[in-house]
Amino acid sequence: MPYTFSDKYSTADAGIIVTGKTVEELFSDAALGMTEIIVASENLEVRKKLTVELEADSMEDLFFDWLSEVIYLKDAENFLLKNCVMEINEGDRINLRASLSGDEIDPERHTLKIDVKAVTLYRLKIEQINDHWQGEAVFDL
């Protein structure tokens, strides 16, 4: 599994440590890992597709914005992420363009667990180590 959960940060909440061969893989897996906190992902189907475009000044800011966007879509669009394909490009600013596929929240079909309220800035980091990327995020539940 490209991500592991950790409870070493706070008794009330959950953290995630993610690795990826590319930064896109890391972003994608972090969002899927976060979704796994909210819902048992094995029951999710592809019933809805969305596009997300974001831009930030740093990779860390983009990571925060991306995870926050997935939380936002859960409440505003009833959307639960199952897959995503994305591209991140660095220019004057860093741009992300992602195609998301997933399901609409349905308590009849889904094992809904606990809501993620927000991404915190606590220990939020993303770094390239040799040939892979590593990231960490802690969520307020």
Binding site: F5, D7, Y9, S10, T11, A12, D13, A14, I38, V39, D61, F64, D65, S68, I71, Y72, K74, D75, A76, N78, I105, P107, T111, L112, K113, I114, D115, K117, A118, V119, T120, L121, Y122, L124, V138, D140, L141
Partner: protein, 484 residues
């Protein structure tokens, strides 16, 4: 975790001196008890001393006896900031703005409830939306949602969801006056507009509780609060502003990351991102936070409206026969402009309470007239297995803790560890054996909220009673619980 540099001020107060950490502007005070102090995490010490470094902080950075690690401020953190040179920080309020407690009284007793317990639980579970993705029964347009943001609980009264007594007995009458809907993002509106009247998940709950005569510590005050018969049925609600407040906190955390640079503020933790109270960014956040606080008051009031409907149907009695009335509604994640005497001079400060409850003592004009002789009700949520507690505010809190007290039992064990320790169905079985019926959308979540994952509520309540920042009135035992 006691450090040799801490100064023992009294049996229940440990002071961390100003020279403990570079940059501290005031001492920090840990309010606790000899039995609880060793359980204080070193992260709490680090966080509360970081708070003591923030610009414009007055007197002390305080941590209540239920304190545990949060983000920025610890949960249980209280700090007051000067308006002229102080800051406002989302990390001192929390992501769930105006998470709080509502306590309701009824005319019912345990004997009347018992034959209807299962039916009542099922009907409440069906009527009050809870868990991930739950939507409220109201279809709100943007105009009405903006009114909710600015009018708070008054919107509920105008639309038939609240009585005059409800409004009178909500902190600030359920309306922070400086709310301005133009300070709130479209994203926050989209997240929150369909969630009014929902519990949410995690540690949020709706509970039916019993006031057993042996657990009434002060009969006179209890009677004034409406607890006037043996084995009386009460209703407690714990929830906040839902996705609306979470998004406002997220939005302003990002805005404040720029403010910190713009205004040259030094913060020791990214979660303490702040802005000067009098800056444009600070004022806008204060207004947006007030919108979320008002929405949270509405959220709890709409839940109350649903509960009343269920009780009417299950017991086939009218509202006046049932006597379901608000005892009080308190915010425990909020920042408020309040006046205190500091260094012999009256000063308006911005009091941040994060996992802390206002505890105004007798005589304060801000509390309902009927409670003014005894102080405001302070509602303390415990774990779902142990029930809640009712206290009243004191003059000591007004003088020593910026009118603040504890908010709950305080978590001590992580959710992951709790789930490894016990299964949710075992917790349910254990509760059933003790006469508590529970219903949840997610059974393993019961394990996360098991009583052993929290401090002993009686110990934290005894600590604030000994500190005289709140006075014990009663303890309630849970009998029905809906876990969000």
């Amino acid at each position: 975790m006691i450090n040799e540099r801490f100064i023992r001020i009294s049996n229940n107060i440990w002071e961390i001196p100003i020279d403990f950490k570079d940059g501290m502007r005031v001492p920090a005070r840990i309010l606790s008890s000899p039995r609880l102090i060793d359980g204080i995490d070193s992260k709490v010490i680090d966080q509360i001393t970081n708070v003591a470094c923030l610009p414009g902080i007055r007197r002390y950075a305080l941590c209540m006896p239920d304190g545990h690690m949060g983000y920025g401020f610890p949960i249980g953190g209280v700090a007051a900031f000067s308006i002229s040179d102080g800051v406002i920080s989302p990390g001192g309020i929390g992501f769930d703005i105006n998470c709080g407690m509502r306590l309701m009284r009824t005319n019912l007793t345990l004997g009347e409830l018992k034959p209807k317990m299962e039916e009542l639980l099922n009907r409440l579970f069906r009527t009050i939306p809870s868990g991930v993705g739950s939507k409220g029964f109201l279809t709100l347009d943007r105009k009405n949602f903006s009114r909710i943001m600015e009018e708070g609980a008054e919107w509920c009264r105008r639309n038939g969801y609240a009585s005059d007594t409800d409004i009178e007995r909500i902190e600030d009458h359920g309306r922070l006056p400086h709310a301005d809907h133009t300070t709130v993002s479209e994203k926050a509106v989209s997240r929150g507009i369909n969630q009014m009247g929902t519990l949410g998940s995690g540690n949020h709950y709706l509970e039916v509780e019993i006031a057993r005569p042996e657990n009434i510590y002060d009969r006179e005050i209890a009677r004034r609060f409406g607890i006037d018969r043996d084995n009386q049925v009460l209703i407690a609600i714990h929830c906040g502003s839902r996705g609306f407040g979470h998004q406002i906190a997220t939005d302003y955390l990002k805005i404040f990351a720029r403010s910190v640079q713009k205004y040259g503020l030094e913060v020791r933790d990214k979660e303490l991102m702040s802005a000067p109270i009098e800056s444009d960014e600070g004022k806008r956040y204060a207004s947006a936070m007030a919108c979320a606080a008002n929405a949270a008051f509405v959220n709890r009031q709409l839940i109350v409206s649903g509960i009343r409907q269920v009780f009417r149907e299950v017991f086939r009695k009218s509202d006046s026969e049932l006597g379901i009335e608000t005892i009080y509604d308190v915010a425990h994640n909020i920042a408020k402009f309040e006046k205190y005497t500091i260094d012999g001079r009256e000063e308006t400060v911005l009091v941040h309470r994060k996992g802390a409850t206002r505890s105004f003592g007798p005589g304060k004009a801000e509390i309902p007239e009927i409670y003014r002789p005894v102080g405001q009700p302070v509602i303390v949520g415990g774990s779902m297995e142990t029930g809640s507690a009712l206290l009243c505010g004191t003059s000591m809190a007004d003088n020593e803790t910026f009118g603040s007290s504890l908010h709950g039992a305080g978590r001590t064990m992580s959710r992951m560890k709790a789930k490894k320790t016990i299964r949710g169905d075992k917790v349910k079985q254990r509760m059933t054996e003790r006469g508590i019926l529970v219903k949840t959308a997610y059974m393993p979540g019961l394990a996360e909220e098991a009583s052993f994952a929290y401090k002993d509520i009686d110990l934290v309540v005894d600590a604030v009673d000994a500190l005289q920042i709140s006075k014990k009135v009663a303890r309630f035992n849970p009998i029905l619980n809906i876990k969000g």
